[in-house]
Amino acid sequence: MTLYSAPLRDMRFVLDELAGSERLRALPGCEEVGPDLIGPVLEEAAKFCTEVLLPINRSGDEEGCTLENGAVRTPKGFPEAYRGFCEGGWAALGADPAFGGQGLSRSIGMLVEEMICSANLSFSLYPGLSHGATMALSKHGTPEQKALYLPKLSSGEWTGTMCLTEPHCGTDLGLIRTKAAPAGDGSYGITGSKIFISAGEHDLAENIIHLVLAKLPDAPPGTRGISLFVVPKFLPGEDGRPGARNGVTCTGLERKMGIKASSTCAMAFEDAKGWLVGRPHKGLSAMFTMMNEARLGVGVQGLGIAEVAYQNAAAYARERLQGRALDGTRAPDSPADPILVHPDVRRMLLTMRAMTEGCRALLAITALQHDVSLRHPDAVARQDADDFVQLMTPIIKALFTDAGWEAAVLGMQVWGGHGYIRENGMEQFARDVRITQIYEGTNGIQALDLVGRKLGAHGGRYLRSFFHPVLAFIEAASEEPAMEEFILPLSKAFGRLQQVTAEVAQRGLRDPFEAGAAASDYLRLFGLTALAYAWARMAEIALQRAEGDAFYRAKLATARFFMQRILPETSSLAAKVLAGGETLRAFEEAAF
């Protein structure tokens, strides 16, 4: 039985002390986000996750989803859990109050999502996709579309999907073949096949609202000719209740490595009735407005798995007795010491922990900026905050999901042979989290997004939202002698990142292949430097409060570990980036 105990102390730390929840309260619509709200919300969420979602994680993995006569049955306990989820108000947590949502800030919403992902990644996909569909409709839908769909999606009565991928194209959506033919009454007949559709068909809700990319008859070629349509599984009648069945069916369930309790469907649209969302041919840009949100969400999935893998590895290392400590026996009365005493086991556990807590800290900082970008009354402040979110989105998606995979694999390693045994649950984390590095834009695509779209945009303005505050922090914190052990490595990594950024931008302008060749290593270099910034800020807080408080002492110790045993990776990353792409280009294609 896997363990999970929501890291509420650390969540409150990153939210209140690091990001500063008082800044959140200064935003319109967040005035009530005080300790008496944050505490109960997080505690209730933790309770739901550990009591309802965690127990059906292993069984869901074993049972999986089944398809019969076009209907998908989710594993035992899932419909009940989903009902509990909606009744508890969790579906409506972040939704617009105008449509029945609770309008809770992203800063808190992201932490709730982390808990759900730790407890049951498969389950998180169902509300996660609804959230994406809600975003798309609220940003681009007509008032009628909003009134029809948003209240049902907010309450969770209906769920949503995002139908982008087709059998022959995923990353390059310009190639899609699904067609939309005008029906003459303002609606369109949608025809085509989509694959890898999460929550495409299931038994959790009475209706499923598909958001579908398709091409109009006069569409220009490529990505400039894609339009977005809303296609409900059941056509809502006059009363808004689900009516006639629409021409959309699940034709198959993908058999996959992990997230087996998530229904991943092949969908067939046969002259299905749909309505245009947003402007003709502007579907991809409409998609992109929610892509950022979705990518941050996938980053949170990586974080969630890293946390639960760490907790289970640490617990096992405490109990499992093997060998004697190299620096003196710890448990003379036992036949062996707990493996926690071994330096390599400690290396693994601290790596997991330093990455997990660092990612959570960076997430909290980013989520707060996200809230500012959505709610701040001043346009300049909104833009500055949005710049930061734009910049961090590909980094969070790729870095956090890589960290999730690394933590899952390290967790298995700590468990030794038992980590490879299915019933112990450790290998499920690895299988479940592996998809997060792939979907919602592979991590390679994230890296290209960073160097191609984020680096040079507006003369590098997005970068300013990171480089200026970090430099200001380094300069201010340099005055404090106790901070030296954190500031020196941070400023070294920061200087390296400045140099490499200028180099990548210049080379990329001359030769896009060079930018592509640098992208993945550059993203990780950026990500680790961002984590170093988060760790140095956490250390600054912890230094003032460490006396007599184990939480802050552990923070400082983890910060030291990060600075000394993880951050140096940036120098090898910089060397790799600066080596350039010639070796990638020169290799003869035939020899692969």
């Binding site: 220009p220 070629p221 490529g222 400039r224 000719g225 041919h281 040079g456 507006h458 003369g459 590098g460 303005r461 970068l463 300013r464 480089f467 200026h468 970090v470 430099l471 400045q498 950024t501 200028a502 931008a505």
Partner: protein, 793 residues
Amino acid sequence: MSLTTGAPMVETELRSATAPAGHPRPAMPIRKVGVVGAGVMGAGIAAQVANAGVPVVVLDILPGGAARAVERMLKTEPAPFMHKGAARLVTPGDLEADLALLAECDWICEAIIEQPEAKRALYARLQGVRKPGSIVSSNTSTIPLAALTEGLGEEFAADFLITHFFNPPRYMRLLEVVRGPAARAEAAAAITEFADRALGKSVIPCKDRPGFIANRIGGFWMQSAINRAFDLKLTVEEADAAMGRPLGIPKTGVFGLLDLVGLDLMPHVAASMKATLPADDPYVLGLREHDVILRMIAEGRTGRKGKGGFYAREKGPGGERLKRAIDLWTGEYRESEKPQLESLGLRDLRGLAEHPDRGGRYTRAVLLDTLGYAASLVPEIADSIADVDAAMRLGYNWAYGPFELIDRLGAAWLAKALAEDGRPVPPLLVAVGEGSFYRVRDGRLECFGTNGAYHAVPRPEGVLLLSDVRRRSKPLARNGSASLWDIGDGVACLEFHTKMNAIDLGTVEMIGKAVAMGKKGGFRALVIHNEGEQFSVGANIGLALFAANIAAWGEIEGLIEQGQKAMRSLRDAPFPVVGAPSGMALGGGCEILLHCDAVQAHAESYIGLVEAGVGLIPGWGGCTTMLRRWAENPRAPKGPMPPVAKAFEMISTAQVAKSAFEAREMLFLRPTDGITFNPDRLLADAKAKALSLAEGYAPPEVKPLRLPGASGRVALAMAVQQQVALGRATPHDVVVCDHLAETLTGGRKDHTEETTETELHALERRHFMALLKTPATLARVEHMLETGRPLRN
């Protein structure tokens, strides 16, 4: 017409009259000019003559019309006059009362209504007034020469030419000249000489055929581009996008150009071409009336001068600016849309012409029409394809003339495409076969002649083009941003070649390299010149913005310091350095000129220190040099404050001189700096200036300045507060002004002490960096890069 037996490609009489130094034929100097007709063209021609420093009489048929035209021109933008003083050289008069004023004129240019009878009647009157041997020319664009001289006698015909200017006469460099069979060679030579050197025109000899070169081909192109857009059902935006960037035609394309010149002009041009060209000429065969266009003209929607044209800008219900475009089938306005055709994203011209979508089919059709027609017109309208290309480049602002476009497509490709469509293949195209119309042999540019052989593209005497130097030699040094060339007689030329010639680290390094090579005795003098549209738009602020965004402050300050060092090294080098700008010399580009020992400027040089527009101050010695220029100006009041006030006023408001003459008034140029009207002659003039300085050259002495310090700053701050009160200065203007004032007044120094150049350069650096760290400055830089306009924050 047979190409093989036809005349070999002889240079026309006109050109041989101006050319080689070996056969000097003294051209009568033109010391005074008369212009009859004070319409847009006549008045503009008179203004350009005055710009050249030559007195000019301008007469109009309407009483007071000429005087009003001069008044109007003083308020026109872009300005016909290069400086206010030029207007004083213009003597306006009334045709009836003041005809006698023309008696002293060496050249009388007629620019009255396009009616042969009216023109002939005027010429008859001139015969009684003008002095013997004076030249009369007509600015007609449509009337055959023979019809103009008919019945006026041999003496008149001997002195008569057609001189066809393009609008606006100050800025358009093409002058088409037609010399009739009876005209004196000396008359053509005198006008060519004057137009070339004094007015800065490129004189292209033309045959006496309707529309000469540019309007014959340009008019035909417009007609084809309109007809084909209707045939192939393109939107106006699609047609203009297809004609614009890929072909190298200005981005107005065809419909945008019609809006600019006026739709109502079209029927007149059509009627004139129909009346003068043979009925089977493709131009006449292609004449068509489009109902939508006729309706637009009838409704007064004739373009930018009327109630909008194919495009119109309207205010939306919320006051937002809407761009509208005509639907060519309904004649109604709709929201303007960016074209989405795949073909229009292609950069390769042939790829575009072969693309199957309607953008590709359209481009192919218009190219086949226009280029096929142009190829069929040599030698009918001109003897040299190089003249045809030059006329289209200079008269229609095409980046490539028709024969250069054919070379880009491939002559054989065009011949094949024409044959495929069942159209005639012009003999010249057949003759060139698989070859190209231009080639480079032994470092010389050659063009294909009507006799089937290649001939060197002729250059008028005294013309030195860097592009010719580039063809025939290897650079002395080169990097990605700049090159150093040997231009003969021990003179080197430093050429910039970045986008818009923005200055980056490579440029600064090449300046250092040039100075080092000169110090080692590599050359006796250095000219800084390039053939770009702009001499230099200043430091590459895109790079600076990126560096600032990643907080690479050390690197930026290092570049500022390195730039200051490069500027000082230009001035202190043991050899003379001559700047030879044309077009914009802004910011860092201006600072380079300020550190040259002398400048030979194209008259169309636009010089200024514009850093304040992007929230910065000049950091490469611009502040320091402007202080010194005003301090050393003998006409300026004495004392520490006047130079500071002048430099502050100019820099804080980012003033740009709109001609070399204005630059002289603003002290960007010294009285001793030269001005050249014809850009083709700029490099040769600059080289001559450099050589004249080289003998016994010693670098200038740099004296410290006495600056007013804190008391001066108080005065400047008060002036700035006044501007704020008047609503002319924004909050960030005040910040920029504070830093500028601190720099120009000498920081902590005051008038009792001397402030050295080193100290001033340190002040420039410090305040430049301080401003660059403000978000408001970064927002200005970003806005300028993204919109090309200053942000007023």
